[in-house]
């Protein structure tokens, strides 16, 4: 294995949680999540020579991962198995009974009703990014980022309420 490949894999594996979270935010079907995960890894590898190290690796990774997810289209021929919210959360209950896990499972399900940009806003917010950083990542003004984020939070709350869950 080449040295550059080794360094890249080490850095990626230290931050792989970011890719998993983005894949789960953008795709509800496990097969599509796997596809998106691989696509992000590949795009990161393709873009790696352009990473100059002037910013943190994770900062660069957020951008590439989100930009890939925003323009990623599902495989046209794939039949998506519709799983209801309760069924999905029951699965989560079996694997991990913690309330936190259940909450996150509801969150992942609810964000599927948001559009590509709203998903990015919520993701960056949950990743502790400031309004300024969100604005820089998306290429919009800070005010616009603040307004959009507030609207998206309200929308998300309504979706979760509509689905009969509250947290």
């Amino acid at each position: 294995m080449l040295d550059i490949q080794k360094i890249f894999l080490q850095q990626i594996n230290e931050n792989k949680g970011i890719i998993h979270k983005v894949a789960k935010m953008y795709m509800d079907n496990p097969l599509d999540q796997e596809d998106l995960f691989q696509e992000i890894v590949m795009q990161l590898w393709k873009a790696y020579p352009s990473f100059k190290g002037t910013s943190k690796f994770s900062t660069w990774m957020y951008r590439v991962a989100l930009n890939t997810a925003i323009v990623f289209f599902k495989k046209d021929h794939r039949k998506v198995d519709k799983v209801s919210l309760n069924e999905q959360v029951e699965i989560a209950d079996f694997s991990d009974s913690h309330e936190k896990e259940e909450k996150l499972a509801y969150l992942y399900k609810a964000v599927q009703e948001l559009n590509q940009i709203e998903k990015a806003l919520i993701f960056l917010f949950l990743e502790n990014q400031s309004h300024k950083e969100i604005a820089q990542n998306l290429g919009i003004t800070e005010i616009n980022a603040r307004v959009k984020l507030n609207r998206t939070k309200e929308k998300l709350q309504q979706i979760i309420k509509k689905n009969g869950y509250e947290f």
Binding site: Q5, K16, I19, K46, A47, T68, V71, V147, K153, E166
Partner: protein
């Protein structure tokens, strides 16, 4: 709903994730809309190159007269020249790499205009080939069926002929537009929707 609490739980989530392996760096082709369009265009151009090569044998297959063969070769030469120019343009598009580490807005706009530009190039080439083929058919009619054509022309008004030419061009245009929209339009449309949602105040 307490978003701060949710944020803490999100960040403290210790789910075990699959490792990224060396094999993952080698697999499959990229699936961004640009890559999909490039792949489709590549397939179409391979078919066009093959068709162009086959078209070189048309005079032999249909046993053209010397005058018709010479005319055909002139038209064929013009088509080959245009195709070479456009194939070169598409090749540079195909090789043009993109940078996903810029901000999302710039990234989406790049994808949108790059796709638009190339679809316009694609349409232009189709129009050109369509017009040249029509012109050749008209010239061939003059050369081979001159008497018959003269008789028909005497009976038809110029307005009627112009209208026919216009309709023929219109049909080429509509087919090209529909073809481009069917194969490539959906990607542009989806990207445009995302850009609009980013621009909304």
């Amino acid at each position: 709903m307490n978003f701060d609490q949710l944020k803490d739980e999100w960040n403290n989530n210790s789910a075990q994730h699959q490792e990224v392996s060396e094999d993952m760096l080698k697999i499959k082709e990229a699936r961004t809309p640009i890559d999909k369009i490039r792949k489709q265009m590549k397939q179409e151009f391979l078919i066009q190159v093959f068709s162009l090569a086959l078209a070189a044998f048309v005079p032999q297959i249909f046993d053209f007269s010397i005058s018709l063969k010479s005319t055909y070769l002139i038209f064929y030469g013009v088509v080959v020249a245009f195709c070479t120019y456009y194939f070169y343009k598409f090749y540079t598009f195909y090789k043009h790499s993109y940078d996903l580490s810029i901000d999302s807005r710039k990234n989406l706009l790049w994808f949108y205009y790059e796709m638009k530009l190339n679809i316009e190039l694609y349409k232009a080439l189709t129009y050109i080939i369509g017009f040249i083929m029509l012109s050749f058919c008209a010239t061939a009619l003059f050369l081979t069926k001159n008497d018959l054509l003269q008789r028909i022309l005497e009976k038809l008004s110029l307005v009627y002929l112009a209208l026919n030419a216009f309709i023929a061009i219109l049909i080429i245009g509509v087919i090209t537009e529909l073809w481009a929209r069917f194969y490539y339009g959906k990607y542009i449309k989806e990207i445009k929707v995302i850009i609009d949602s980013l621009d909304e105040e």
